[in-house]
Symmetry: C2
Subunit: 351 residues, 2 copies
């Protein structure tokens, strides 16, 4: 099955979901830099480069370290110098090939070079397909915290080749499922059910349909709020704790698993604030996801890292809570409730 979705921003752009689409990437720019990490480049760069060259582009490949460690201002600066040395001009393009860390970094390079050149995304992980490759958020980390630096820079098109998901470890696939499940909780309960179906993995017959539904939830939200002034913050459901877990463990806990945990903490918070108890659902998801066990964590340091969240303002941290499935809201949670819920969360982990 193939799906073509459209993001109605100015300018509008297309998201293609299909097996083998990496072999059919054509873009108008003549000078193109592909940015991929050292693990992904050998797997998929040859096919992508061949297809870009068939379309008449000259292509350079720049490789970066694999994983979140690449998202630094130092590597951002190196890549920008490489673009300048290659003589890229305003009508050149950057193509990200890989996971969310690669598209976050490559997108921020494209946003920064000459104050912004064309950007395309070819995500190769489920997480990147559902989350990072749609919506134009780009950026890198600071030593002080994750994603504290960046730009909104929409891609000109996104090419999702679901064949690439077959090379993912099942654990990595299930990381992406966390964002699909989150989109289900935010707007589409059927999506939650689809993710929890027996055997939901890279060869599942409903994969493209489920992916398209999950991406559409994000598109709808991004269209209504492209620069995260309000509603778009709902996509951060589960992410306040998730980012803290990643920071504290120096990314030993991978993003999708951190989000799995974060959604459960947020569901418990919602319950303790008097809303619908969605913790049975987030627990069912964790049972599907089977994330790595968390190390021992100190509440003060968890609390400190959560306070650096982007949704924080001078009055404190705000959480995305669900009054019910499909009813997210942004709310300041009293300090006592945060800590009491943390105790409940630890009890769940220990069970």
């Amino acid at each position: 099955m193939e799906f073509d979705l459209t993001v109605h921003l100015n300018p509008a752009y297309r998201i293609r979901i299909a097996r083998g689409t990496l072999q059919q990437v054509r873009i108008p720019e003549k000078q193109v830099v592909v940015i991929a990490d050292s693990q992904i480049a050998p797997l998929y760069a040859p096919a992508l480069i061949a297809s870009l060259e068939q379309g008449g582009s000259s292509v350079y490949l720049l490789t970066i370290p694999a994983g979140e460690v690449a998202k630094t201002l130092a590597i951002h600066a190196q890549l920008l110098s490489q673009l300048a040395q290659l003589g890229l001009t305003r009508d050149s393009a950057v193509v990200a090939l890989g996971g969310g860390a690669t598209s976050d970094l490559a997108g921020y390079v494209a946003a920064s070079y000459l104050r912004g050149i064309a950007f395309y995304v070819c995500p190769t992980t489920l997480l990147a397909m559902v989350d990072a490759s749609v919506g134009g958020k780009t950026g890198v980390n600071l030593p002080e915290g994750k994603n504290l630096v960046g730009a909104f820079h929409q891609p000109k098109a996104v090419f999702m080749d679901t064949n690439t998901l077959e090379s993912l470890p099942l654990r990595t696939f299930r990381e992406g499922a966390a964002e699909l499940f989150k989109h289900g909780l935010l707007a589409n309960p059927q999506l939650c059910a689809a993710v929890l179906e027996t055997g939901f993995n890279a060869t599942h017959s409903n994969l493209e349909q489920t992916l398209a539904s999950g991406v559409q939830v994000k598109i709808d939200i991004v269209e209504r709020d492209p620069t995260e002034q309000n509603e778009r913050a709902y996509l951060n459901f589960g992410h306040t704790l998730a980012h803290a877990l990643e920071a504290i463990t120096h990314h030993a806990v991978p993003h999708g698993e951190a989000v799995g945990y974060g959604m459960h903490y947020a569901a418990l918070l919602g319950k303790n604030m008097g809303y619908t108890d969605l913790s049975p659902q987030t627990k069912a998801f964790l049972e599907y996801q089977r994330p790595m066990p968390l190390p021992e964590l100190n509440w003060v340091s968890v609390r400190d890292f959560m306070a650096r969240d982007k949704k924080a303002d001078n009055a404190g941290v705000r959480f995305v809570l669900l009054e019910a499935i499909g009813k997210p809201k942004l709310e300041r949670v009293p300090e006592a409730v945060l800590e009491q819920t943390w105790a409940g969360f630890l009890a769940f982990l220990a069970a």
Copy 2:
């Protein structure tokens, strides 16, 4: 005389031109970082900070090295970490106090932190008032060239205190006059005449009026083309050679003087391409400006640096030429004409 100009972008913002306006800066943000260089900070930061604090803001002062050397990705990264350490949130603000290098850098910091927070500019040089502080171009240099990295990030307001111009060396004042003169050539011949009036300096009775006229030319162009897709490139009149002169001399030739020279080269180019001969006007301006003599320059290296200009595309470098005063156009100039005009330019310098 006081002037309030409005830039009609989304959102619109105000530019205030008045003596003493630094004592009356009020902004709604509660957490504010003032970025100033080590020379400007002792002169004007106390007044600015006092006025921000009277308005209820908490203010931190971060100082940077003076001049173009501060516009690096390394200092950009340092400032971003400092913002994170100070705990700045999305409803905080960055205020640039100083010349164009400071507002370019501080603006790019504001554009990058949390993908963009509020930004204000208090320019203290004529050059920054006429050019850098209006229009939202922010950025830093790469080792490979000037302004190759950055973002469009409009300020929320600009406060131009013309009292600050009295502490400028006359030579620095005349640097800014180059941009005023350029705006005159682009759209308002009376402005050229005002700049060439006897005694045009920081105490001239027509200063605020002339400044307001010059800023208005830029506002008109920026409003029609906020992200430099087309017409805004005209503001680069004289800048293709200017940026090359700055790069080759490692900024020994200051920007405004480089623009003075660059306008004359561009006028000679226009003449050699068969347009109105405006070189008498640009020569008259150089006689007013009295820039430092240029060192010996090698054409091949000048040509090479000009080829890195942002207006370059795959087919070569384009110049802003004037068919006549008020009639700019963007045009590719044949290689032979570029070199022949360079010979004419050197002859003028030697005369």
